[in-house]
């Protein structure tokens, strides 16, 4: 009775091999970053990935099909108000497989959140992950709703820029 025993052993070995190859493929993390931090850092120093509300309005008025606006807020906020023509990809789902092909297409994707901080974080995340052609709308949905849509004036001294200093330094200094 040597034969069946051998066959069984062979089968076990094959199964073990298959299992190990399978797990090894699984541990190859598909979410690892494709762009090293140092590379992204020097890109951030060299180039600007922000889109001003003025430029965004031009794009929307011209119905420029090269651009796609992506609202990363939750569906409730999106339903409540969104930039004309924007689609909704809530931040928690942004890495989901169903959006991979969308992020890989040639369009220039303009991300926005309520302001621009979350959208900028999403921009960094997606860029680290290897996606390209991404921009961030300055001022986000709040600025868009309060200034661009309702007042139709959008260049209030560039206040949509989160990094603009919005107080008078001399006031603090003289107070000391």
């Amino acid at each position: 009775m040597k034969r069946p025993y051998l066959k069984l052993l062979g089968l076990i070995i094959v199964l073990m091999l298959a299992g190990l190859v399978f797990t090894s493929l699984k541990t190859r993390n598909k979410y690892r970053f494709k762009k090293p931090a140092e590379e992204l850092h020097s890109e951030l120093i060299k180039s600007n990935h922000f889109l001003s509300p003025q430029k965004a309005l031009e794009i929307i008025n011209q119905k420029d099909g090269k651009y796609l606006f992506i609202d990363i807020r939750n569906p409730r906020e999106y339903d409540n108000f969104h930039v004309e023509g924007a689609i909704n990809i809530p931040l928690p789902q942004i890495l989901d497989d169903q959006y991979a092909s969308l992020f890989k297409n040639d369009k220039i994707k303009v991300l926005y959140s309520n302001e621009s901080i979350k959208a900028d974080e999403a921009w960094l995340l997606l860029t680290q992950y290897g996606y390209e052609n991404l921009l961030v709308l300055q001022g986000g949905a709040n600025y868009w709703k309060n200034n661009v849509i309702s007042k139709n004036v959008f260049d209030r001294k560039g206040d949509y820029d989160d990094e603009k200093l919005k107080f008078d330094i001399s006031k603090i200094k003289s107070a000391r």
């Binding site: 052993l9 073990m16 931090a37 992204l40 680290q128 919005k166 603090i172």
Partner: protein, 205 residues
């Protein structure tokens, strides 16, 4: 087939499997995109202006403020005790000694939140620990600490105490502000709790 042959086959297959297995990444601190996405949703890395004000007043050595703006901006105005690591120099060798350590909590700040958060994202991608962001940056610092708004309702006790603390902080950071609100005049310094050295009980002190 002899058992020896079978054993040989088994060992060779294990060897092959070991060769196929992906190299283990020992820089295991480095996050992946999914983990970083989780971090930016949970937002544990944002520190409020009030918290920082309190830490500065108490001379809390746990925090190290890091101004990520340009040298020029830093010279014009910066928070007390802050050091300057311009964004461009984030990954310089001298900078790494500060941002890649586990002893203190670094709090990045800029004019708004954006620049600080970009620095944080890059540091996080590298897996560096202990980095935080001053929420709203200097603009929000000014709005909450230097020019705090009086709470609309006097009934909101929590807002009242928060406002009192802010007036105290304002006085601390600017040397003025006590005379602003009628009720606040006397109390303005009250919320500032300087840590007293605790006496050791007993012993030969």
């Amino acid at each position: 087939m002899s058992t020896r042959v079978i054993l040989t086959i088994v060992f060779i297959s294990f060897g092959l499997i070991a060769a196929i297995l992906p190299e283990k990444d020992y820089s295991s601190q480095e996050l992946d995109a999914k983990q970083l996405l989780h971090e930016i949703q949970v937002e544990n890395y944002m520190i409020s202006a009030d918290e920082i004000a309190e830490a500065l007043i108490n001379e809390d050595p746990e925090y190290q403020l890091i101004d990520v703006r340009s040298e020029e901006e830093f010279k014009q105005y910066s928070l007390p005790g802050a050091i300057n690591i311009p964004f461009e120099k984030l990954f310089d060798e001298e900078s790494l000694a500060y941002i890649d350590q586990i002893a203190r909590k670094n709090v990045f700040y800029s004019n708004g939140t954006t620049k600080a958060s970009e620095a944080w994202m890059l540091a996080k991608q590298k897996g560096f620990q202990n980095n935080y962001i001053l929420r709203g940056g200097l603009n929000n610092w000014y709005k909450t600490i230097i020019e705090p708004n009086e709470p609309a309702s006097a009934d909101d006790v929590e807002a009242y105490y928060e406002y009192q603390a802010r007036l105290g902080a304002k006085q601390f950071f600017t040397g003025q502000g006590a005379a602003q609100s009628s009720g606040a005049k006397k109390k303005a310094r009250a919320p500032i709790k300087r840590k007293k050295k605790k006496m050791v009980a007993g012993g030969c002190s």
